[in-house]
């Protein structure tokens, strides 16, 4: 496992901090998160979108159907999400960058394709705009219920996944480019776990003028020779395999050899597992994207991601105004989980949009003392600034979250 040196300076750690400085020529728009996700994909040279419309990700499909033909790409409205993600896998195997977008009910159908794409190291980007669940839930209300499902996106174990979550329309744009880059470098599907608020919200958005000039976009390369699957290796930047060039590459659902032949052999199974897990675990330092605030002196740290992190961050600032030494951690990389962000021995208040408690369990595991990790779960709507400030104040002063309506604090 790579170790990560966490910056205690306030601010953002992400590649787009640098990108933003370099891109000065462009246009400022008032646009939706779905628009930013679409344009980020086009900028990253995504040329295939295959998916099934679902609220609140539908607008991504609509924008893609308009934009892709303009840049020589293809929009496929698939018969279901199983077909959508598999068609993306096919397109990616054929040499085109691909993306699909969905929400919880469709995401559930994608696990079949996730397993196939993860095992065969097929780069692509999957957007899940989470809404409150279970099942259809409320289509127009945000949720954060797929934190664990996005990690365990297929049955069978023996793999790691990369999951990123933006918390503004602008960040959705840059993060989508980053997701495509990581998909290429790590040869794996990268999931953008966003939510109904970020998807539907309209906000200030800067779009660079010339996508072709973005030198930080990693172009698609092709692996045209053996080994097609570097089993037992944790190497990054292995170019993806290409079907259609007569290299003899084999892609299947089975445990594979370096050639891609199906094999029932323990050594091959182990070597494949080593590759799928460690190409990510050994490079977590290259996957760390996060935002922190007030970690220098914080006695209580609020943890939140996605849309929810916006009101939580303001709640932290409000608590500080009231004299509470409050800090803020916003993981952007949700998986692999950045344990190092929670190394500080202090109290934590984890705010997430579900009542069962998902992110909080990982913070409990990573923090020095899980008894100091508190939960503020809310469902279908964001935490208010007042709730967060009250929670932080309560934990700082009496080591407990005060009773608040619609807030759950029990994890077990």
């Amino acid at each position: 496992m790579a170790t990560l040196a966490v910056s205690t300076r306030d601010g953002l750690v992400a590649p787009w901090v640098e990108w933003e400085k370099r891109c000065t020529d462009g246009r400022r728009l008032l646009e939706a998160g779905t628009y930013a996700l679409t344009e980020g994909a086009i900028a990253a040279r995504c040329r295939v979108f295959a998916g099934y419309p679902i609220t609140p990700a539908t607008d991504i499909a609509e924008y893609m159907s308009k934009r892709l033909p303009q840049v020589g790409g293809y929009y496929v409205q698939s018969e279901d999400e199983l077909a959508g993600m598999h068609a993306c896998a096919g397109a990616s195997l054929g040499g085109l960058k691909a993306m699909t977008a969905t929400s919880g009910p469709g995401y559930t159908l994608m696990h079949d394709a996730y397993g196939w794409s993860i095992t065969n190291e097929i780069p692509m980007v999957v957007v899940d705009a989470m809404r409150v669940g279970p099942i259809s839930g409320i289509t127009g209300a945000p949720g954060q219920g797929e934190f664990y499902i996005a990690r365990y996106a297929s049955h069978g174990g023996n793999f790691e996944t990369i999951v990123l979550s933006p918390s503004s329309v602008q960040e959705a744009f840059w993060l989508t480019i980053d997701a495509f880059n990581l998909a290429e470098r790590f040869r794996t599907p990268v999931t953008i776990l966003t939510d109904q608020v970020i998807s539907d919200m309209w906000e200030d958005l800067f779009i660079p003028a010339d996508y072709d000039a973005l030198d930080f976009v990693i172009p698609r390369k092709h692996n045209l020779m053996m080994p097609f699957y570097p089993v037992g290796s944790a190497d990054l930047d292995v170019p993806p395999n290409l079907i259609g060039r007569g290299t003899g590459v084999c892609v299947s659902a089975y445990t594979h050899t370096e050639e891609g032949y199906d094999i029932e052999d323990m050594a091959a199974q182990w070597a494949q597992t080593y590759r799928l897990i460690n190409k990510i675990r050994h490079h977590t330092d290259q996957l760390a994207r996060y935002e922190t605030l007030g970690l220098e002196d914080a006695e209580v740290v609020a943890v939140a991601y996605g849309a929810n992190a916006r009101t939580v961050k303001t709640g932290v600032l409000e608590a500080r105004r009231r004299g509470v030494k409050a800090g803020f951690v916003r993981p952007i990389t949700l998986w692999p989980f950045l344990d190092e962000l929670y190394e500080r021995d202090c109290r934590y208040v984890v705010c997430e949009l579900n009542y069962d408690g998902q992110l909080v369990r990982e913070v409990m595991r990573a923090a020095p003392d899980k008894k100091k990790v508190h939960f503020m779960g809310k469902s279908a709507e964001l935490h208010t600034v007042a709730e967060v400030a009250a929670g932080l104040e309560g934990v700082a002063r009496s080591n407990r979250v005060p009773e608040l309506p619609y807030i759950w604090t029990e994890v077990r």
Partner: protein, 293 residues
């Protein structure tokens, strides 16, 4: 290894793990004959398959590029792959589970789109790699390990399904009809659109053993042959008849899916260029709106 196998298949991957007397290898040899007679180059044919007897026994035997999708999803993968690699020939060799059950929605929509692939549905009339359960193509009343009192559900004919959905070439044949099958597959591969070839073949270990009461390959082949003729050797009628041959052939009569997409793109981009030229001539200060940068 015969000459065709030596020319097109991977020596390390054959013989496959197929059971004694399985028809899959024989049918694959006929597919090779069709490819050979058409003169297709190995690197220009992409071989796709799924899960089950047919997927497991054919995956990675083809000397060119191969993919073995999750169960039923070969056509979903092929839909994306065809957009990226439109000039290749696609041989999608799947079983009755892949085509007629778990992946039927993809089959229907691939036919509707006229996706340029040739689907060979090798049908052993049940799920034999899991030990012999019925599938939607198991004949009525036949005993399998999940229909111990006889297949009670009505089945369906996948040829009817894909024809109704818009397939441009549809044919049915069996493992007892060598020359007919080769001719059909050659025609199927020459259709720049969705071709579907349904090939019934015997399974000795399960369907033969439980439904027909014999593991004898010749007897099982004979049972299939009788049902293509509608008559048993003693002259009596069989319980049902399979009509084999070409069921529907409107090859190359409507545009192939990836071509529709490419043509649309060309139209969109020509319109954009025309508008940009007109705007440049009309009013050099006008912004053409978002979404076109």
């Amino acid at each position: 290894m015969n000459k065709l196998a030596a020319k097109y298949l991977r020596p390390s991957q054959i013989p496959t793990k197929a059971c004694h007397g399985c028809g899959i290898g024989m049918i694959e040899n006929w597919l090779l004959q069709a490819i050979d007679e058409l003169g297709f180059k190995q690197e220009n044919v992409i071989f796709g398959t799924g899960i089950g007897c047919v997927g497991r026994q054919t995956f990675a035997t083809w000397g060119g590029d191969n993919f073995g999708a999750t169960h039923g999803r070969a056509l979903a993968v092929a839909t994306g792959l065809k957009l990226a690699q439109p000039d290749k020939k696609y041989l999608i060799v799947v079983g009755d589970g892949d085509a007629a059950s778990i992946g039927t929605s993809h089959l229907i929509h691939a036919a509707r789109r006229n996706l340029g692939v040739t689907v060979i549905c090798e049908d052993n009339m049940g799920y034999e790699s899991t030990g012999g359960q019925f599938s939607p193509t198991t004949p009525a009343n036949y005993v399998t390990n999940s229909s111990p009192y006889g297949m009670a559900e009505p089945g369906f004919d996948p040829c009817d399904v894909v024809k109704a959905a818009g397939a441009t070439f549809v044919a049915e044949t069996t493992a007892t009809q060598w020359h007919q099958t080769v001719k059909i597959v050659k025609k199927a591969l020459q259709n720049d659109g969705f071709s579907f070839v349904h090939v019934r073949f015997p399974c000795n270990e399960n369907f033969g053993a439980y439904a027909l009461g014999t593991r004898d390959t010749l007897k099982n082949l004979e049972w299939i042959y009788e049902h293509t003729q509608g008559r048993k050797p003693d002259g009596s009628e069989t319980d049902f008849t399979w009509e084999t041959g070409i069921k529907h052939d409107v090859s190359n009569s409507r545009p192939e899916f990836s071509k529709i997409m490419r043509d649309m793109n060309a139209r969109v981009r020509a319109d954009m260029a025309a508008k940009a030229a007109a705007a440049a001539g009309d009013d050099k200060t006008r912004d053409d709106g978002h979404g076109t940068h």
